[in-house]
């Protein structure tokens, strides 16, 4: 049957459908040009119609693999958007969506709930991660991951220390260092921990919170960012109330959202607006423009230590800049004076029903790829409690039932980079290569987003970067990369089926769809040598099965 498939692939003229006709005309032109990579388009258009053959064939199943999901074919060949007979042009819209309307990926229907959890809370699960989860079970594993201090992580921390020597220094010491050395410190700490830490869920949560309480490193000086990063990272599994307060009581946020310029004489509402819109109740949370000004008044005086002091840019409340008076925010009165007023506003917002809904949905989208169902939202509301108990909320979002019903997510560039290196087991000795060579080029370097809303978490946004993504997975598997390559020598003596199995277990936890296995195996046919093995691995990683999780 495999030969039948090949036949179909090689005879595109045999295919039907207006979309294919269009694709073919382009692909013929391209093949004539003989452009190096032109085959990709030709192959795509040719194979689109070969789904028929594919659906009929029964490929040899690699050991440990799961049955194919037959709903994978035909349903979403959405490239053309053509329906014959009506005046619909093929330049239609790509289907999919965000929030309640997830992007379409019908092929990734991972079966095993344990492994599904692992993919959501870990950038790139390794065989060791799988073994541990299977040994202690879903619930115990999740609990352990939510208590990062209980996880021995000395190897990773030693590596962090090597790249980020200033990570634990005081604010004053940090201020004495050249700014560039500090910048490298937090960049490298984020990258190294995301790749190597056994506390993977903590890194995933840190990713979430740093986007949520976003500050950027263009406006905020390096030492301040570093201190902010470590302050938030300690509270990933604490309470939302404390996180909100940490963000507000930090120079990073005061500088980033201009609150140091907001005084009793002339206010600046930048931070006040984002407290409501981005950090707590959300844009539909029930506040008015006037409420924003009331919040701004409450936060006058929240500032930073002046330049020239040893602890410059550290948070400080300046009573002389605070505007006295009672504030009324969303019909709630705040009679407190001084800094206590802002604190009271934050306390109140931390458990506001709109905040619970907004944060609950955002966390749910982050982990499950869709908004919380009414049932889940009700559980989140109960779990939130008096302070916003993050662990309790996560237990609901990451429950076995929710994980089973979660929908596929497209890996953001950082996820793809960290997970790939983790799963390939590459030993990074030169972090800047990953930073400037890949994260910057894929537009997701830490703290480099342009706006206070943090990096987007949507397929539609990142989908335009496919060229870079494919280049990345090829580069880290070739000699052109800046890092040590994966050792593939064990694969050399294997037969093709065993090679596919090896790739499957290493990168796909044994759940690579059979169709992908067929393509990789076909590619491997007659190949030998290190480069061929690595290119086959890159092929698996370039595929849709690896780009989504």
């Amino acid at each position: 049957m495999l030969s039948r498939l090949v036949e179909d692939v090689l005879n595109p003229s045999d295919l039907d459908g207006p979309e294919n006709s269009q694709d073919q005309s382009n692909s013929r032109k391209i093949s004539r040009r003989g452009a190096l990579a032109g085959g990709l388009v030709a192959a795509m258009s040719a194979v689109a119609g070969a789904a028929n053959a594919q659906s009929r064939m029964t490929p040899q199943r690699a050991p440990g693999s799961r049955p194919p999901n037959n709903n994978g074919f035909g349903g979403g060949v959405s490239g053309g958007g053509v329906s014959s007979g009506s005046a619909v042009y093929s330049g239609g819209l790509v289907s999919g969506g965000s929030g309640n309307n997830p992007a379409v990926n019908t092929q990734r229907t991972w079966q095993d709930a344990d492994l599904k959890l692992l993919r959501r809370i870990n950038y790139g699960p390794t065989p060791a991660d799988v073994a541990e989860l299977k040994a202690i079970g879903y619930t115990a594993y999740l609990e352990k991951q939510m208590n990062p201090a209980s996880i021995e992580d000395t190897a990773c921390e030693a590596r962090v220390q090597q790249f980020s020597p200033y990570l634990y220094d005081t604010f004053v010491t940090l201020n004495q260092q050249p700014w560039w050395s500090i910048t490298g410190n937090w960049n490298d700490a984020v990258i190294v921990r995301s790749i190597y830490s056994k506390r993977q869920l903590q890194q995933r949560m840190l990713e979430f919170w740093m986007d949520h309480f976003y500050v950027d490193s263009v406006k905020v000086p390096g030492p301040v960012i570093l201190d902010y990063y470590r302050s938030i990272s300690q509270e990933c599994f604490g309470t939302f109330r404390e996180l909100l307060k940490r963000s507000a009581n930090h120079g990073a946020m005061m500088i980033y959202l201009d609150n140091l310029f907001s005084t009793a004489t002339l206010i600046n509402v930048n931070y006040a607006r984002e407290i409501l819109e981005l950090h707590t109740v959300g844009v539909n949370g029930g506040y008015t423009e006037a409420d924003i000004y009331q919040v701004a008044d409450a936060f006058t005086g929240w500032s930073v230590v002046e330049d020239g002091n040893p602890n410059e840019n550290e948070f400080v409340f300046k009573p002389s800049l605070h505007m006295p008076g009672t504030r009324t925010i969303m019909q709630k009165s705040f009679p407190q004076s001084g800094k206590a007023q802002g604190d009271a506003v934050l306390d109140w917002l931390a458990t506001h029903p709109s905040t619970i809904k907004y944060i609950g949905n955002k966390l749910t989208r982050f982990f499950l790829g869709k908004d919380a169902s009414p049932a889940l939202m009700s559980k989140i509301q109960s779990a939130w409690g008096a302070n916003g108990d993050i662990k309790a909320v996560l237990r609901e979002i990451l429950s076995r039932t929710e994980i089973i019903n979660s929908v596929p997510k497209f890996k953001r560039p950082n996820h793809l980079v960290y997970g790939s290196i983790r799963q390939l087991g590459l030993n990074l000795t030169y972090i800047s290569g990953i930073y400037s060579g890949h994260l910057v080029k894929m537009n997701m370097a830490p703290f480099k987003w342009f706006q206070p809303d943090g990096y987007p978490d949507a397929f539609e946004y990142w989908a335009g970067g496919m060229v870079r993504r494919i280049r990345f997975v090829q580069e880290i598997n070739s000699n052109s990369g800046l890092i040590q390559l994966m050792d593939v020598s064990a694969m050399l003596s294997m037969d093709d089926a065993a090679r596919v199995t090896e790739i499957n277990s290493r990168l796909f936890l044994g759940e690579l769809p059979v169709t992908d296995q067929v393509w990789i195996r076909r590619y491997l046919k007659g190949k030998s040598g290190h480069e061929a093995m690595r290119s086959a691995i890159s092929l698996a990683m370039a595929g849709s099965s690896y780009q989504w999780y």
Partner: protein, 411 residues
């Protein structure tokens, strides 16, 4: 199931998944119609329209902005506004555009906004980008592409976005490419069997049932189309000189793309840095530098394209303007009405469109902002109709108001 049956079933299902409900009623423009290439420059952050189009004839402008206003023409200051009509002037940063204005090919629309507007960046941008309540219907520019035949039937790529990722206005569009640097938009050549490997990648994507597929296909087509264009060695016409900035590079690449007729008919670029809460520097600071970058590169593009036979229209938009009164940090907070810019042979330039709402306290929107007097959707509507020859404006900008406007020349 025969192959034909299978494919029919598949395309029905695909149509159900893919196509918004309005599509069946769409009638396409006859092929061969001529429309402008469109360049949309979106200034993220809420650009200060009162500095783009200085109301130097309104004394309140100076009393409300004691430290950040652009001085009156004739004040003798080098930072003075360049008078346009005795009431409005251009900031000195837009000096290069004065000639284009005088040629009638650069125009401004003052006090642009929308009813029930918001001062939230993210909400305002989302609404402007999507222009419908249904996010699933994609961005407005994506719907424009979806409802028009390609300008160049031979071309494989219709739109380019100079961005880090897909701009929401182009969300769900097909035949688009996203890059900051088309010169670098290519696949690897690092494996000894690279072509075979790329073919294998293509085959895998041809079968996947997910939304990644069209993006991979478009990426590949673009890489091939761009390989034939010498971006690095491009020499602008007419002595035009582009700055080494994101806007400068993007406009230079755009000129090269449009002149090479590879089929690109829609160009989108985002420019950041317009959220000037602090020390905005209308004539000497951050805002001045950003406007200088925008204005000089727009003028270079105008000069560069002047000798070509490519019809184009540029529009510059932002999510809102800024508050009239300056704030405590010599900056401005989020406001309401802003200013749109338009450039090209098809615009009714050499004039300032829109009704001036006045800056007296009683005339300010909610007591603090410039009041919108022109719904920006009127501008987009007319642009789509007159310059882009799109007969399905209702599908692109649903429920847009209609009005007797005259921003553009009839094609």
């Amino acid at each position: 199931m025969s192959r034909r049956q299978f494919l029919t079933g598949a395309s029905t299902l695909a149509a159900g998944l893919v196509l918004p409900t309005w599509v069946p009623s769409v009638a396409f423009a006859s092929s061969g119609s001529i429309r402008d290439a469109l360049i949309v420059i979106y200034l993220r952050g809420g650009a200060d329209g009162l500095t783009f189009c200085v109301p130097h004839g309104d004394a309140n402008y100076y009393s409300l902005r004691p430290t950040i206003s652009v001085p009156q023409p004739g004040s003798g200051l080098p930072s003075a506004a360049i008078d346009l009509n005795g009431f409005y002037g251009l900031p000195p940063a837009f000096q290069a555009l004065k000639e284009v204005y005088d040629n009638g090919h650069f125009g401004l629309i003052q006090a642009v906004g929308r009813p029930n507007w918001t001062r939230s960046h993210f909400e305002a941008q989302k609404i402007m980008d999507v222009e419908t309540d249904e996010v699933s219907q994609g961005g407005w520019l994506a719907r424009h592409l979806a409802t028009t035949q390609p300008l160049n039937a031979e071309g494989s790529i219709r739109a380019i976005a100079y961005a880090d990722a897909v701009p929401r206005a182009l969300s769900r569009a097909q035949q688009i490419v996203v890059t900051r640097n088309p010169e670098d938009y290519r696949f690897n050549n690092i494996f000894s069997n690279q072509e075979e490997l790329n073919q294998a990648v293509g085959r895998m994507y041809a079968l996947v049932a997910d939304d990644t597929r069209p993006y991979v296909r478009d990426a590949q087509r673009a890489a091939i189309a761009f390989a034939n264009i010498n971006f690095g060695g491009y020499i602008p016409s007419g002595g035009a000189f582009y700055g080494e900035s994101q806007i400068g590079n993007s406009l230079k690449y755009s000129a090269a793309l449009l002149k090479s007729s590879v089929g690109v008919e829609l160009i989108h670029m985002d420019a950041y840095g317009w959220d000037t809460h602090v020390e905005q520097g209308s004539t000497d600071g951050e805002l001045h530098q950003n406007m200088l970058d925008l204005g000089s590169n727009l003028a270079a593009f105008y000069k560069d394209m002047a000798g070509s036979n490519v019809n184009y229209t540029v529009i510059v938009m932002s999510e809102f303007g800024r508050q009239v009164k300056e704030n405590g940090g010599k900056g401005t907070d989020h406001g309401t009405a802003g200013c749109m810019l338009m450039m090209g042979p098809g615009v009714n330039g050499g004039q300032i469109h829109g009704t001036w709402p006045g800056l007296q306290q009683a005339n300010l929107f909610e007591g603090v902002d410039l009041k919108p007097t022109t719904d920006y959707r009127l501008v987009l509507r007319e642009l789509l109709t007159k310059r882009l020859q799109n007969p399905n404006v209702q599908a692109v900008i649903p429920n847009a108001p209609t009005g007797n406007t005259n921003f553009f020349k009839a094609a």
